[in-house]
Amino acid sequence: MLLALLLPGTLIAAESAPPRMANGRPDLSGHWANPYTPDMAAKGSVLDPQTLKPLQMPRTELKDAKSAASGPGARTLDLPYTDWGLKRWKSYDPVHDGDYAGSCLPFGLSRNMNSPHGLQIVQGADAVAFLFEQNTWFHWVPTSGQKWPTDLPPSWNGQSIGHWEGDTLVIETSGFNGYTRLDTAGHPHSRQLKLTNRFTRLDASTLQHSVTVHDPRAYTRDWTNLRTWRIKPPADMIMEYSCEESSLENLFNGTIKPWKPPENDDED
């Protein structure tokens, strides 16, 4: 410490180094500002998982698609869809078919990670908890070899298992019920979805996050988003958030059409 004080640059380096747990692992704990990502297929953001270089998409307008659910403009060929995935992308219509997010049902792990409200990471030696301010949801990730029961039913957020690759926490998640969308824009996924989220704490205030989407029913190849999270100021603490507070009235007065699970519960 004395040496650090005597060497100005050393102190800065010491303060900005990633904090570590008693077991030597990087400590990802903190209240993080995650970039709001309503459209995971925004131009330039769809990357090759290995090279992290942008994938070139046709981006031709889909004239027979429903109107965009997020942002201006029409839907395009913006991801490597299978026929099944393209059909789901073109037909997504929360206004007329029911809006599961407007109905305050769980948004799914992908949309939780995309939300603009920030989230708290609480890390222990054997698990990591994600506390999403959005709707006061949580997600539990064992990181020391614990396994979920194999007969758990599919769920909105899936079941995650984490492991460390060097200083990077790798979280693999599957077991989704298929009711959610990847983002506000409505990019589709099936029950075959497997998400791989990677977190590397670059320094005290920066977390690098990538997510790779693997879903052979919806996409012909895997693709990745890469984002940078920033630590929030100490005075900015996670707050309560109840989606139902005002959405109930919008559901009752017809502004938001209530969502119902599909009658054919076989992924369609």
Partner: protein
């Protein structure tokens, strides 16, 4: 109208551009409101419902004949607004405001989204902003 928060109105107006993402985050605002149905009117604040996921400011508009319509102006999330310095009593019943925004796609709805509320020429917890920028990085 009284604004009793600790930052300048100018700063709040700039910060208001920040809020759209939060307004869009919980569900598809684009799916709820029609950009081809813009509207603008002056009315009187009845109440502010400071609730998640969107606050609603109820604004009454009276016609020359005395008929009254109360619109619900959708704003950002209370948490995002609070962090920007807004408070639930920033606007009070009786304040005269000018509203610009888009009508809901549901023709029976009196909700106004993607809206800007202005009082004394200053913007108050608007939900307008460049999509994806706002909370973009809250």
């Amino acid at each position: 109208m009284r604004i009793d928060v600790g930052i300048s109105v100018r700063a709040m107006s700039l910060l208001s551009l920040w809020i759209a993402g939060a307004a869009q985050a919980h569900h598809s605002v684009a799916a709820e409101f029609d950009p081809n149905k813009p509207t603008s009117f002056t009315g009187t604040v009845q109440k502010v419902m400071w609730m998640n996921p969107h606050i609603y400011t109820y604004v009454e508009v009276k016609s020359a004949e005395g008929a009254s319509v109360v619109y619900r102006i959708e704003g950002g999330s209370p948490n995002a607004l609070y962090r920007q310095g807004w408070r639930k009593d920033t606007l009070k019943a009786g304040d005269v405001v000018m509203v610009t925004g888009n009508r809901a796609k549901n023709p029976e709805s009196l909700n106004i989204g993607q809206a800007t509320i202005a009082a004394d020429g200053k913007k108050i917890f608007t939900g307008v902003g460049p999509a994806g920028v706002a909370a973009a990085e809250p």
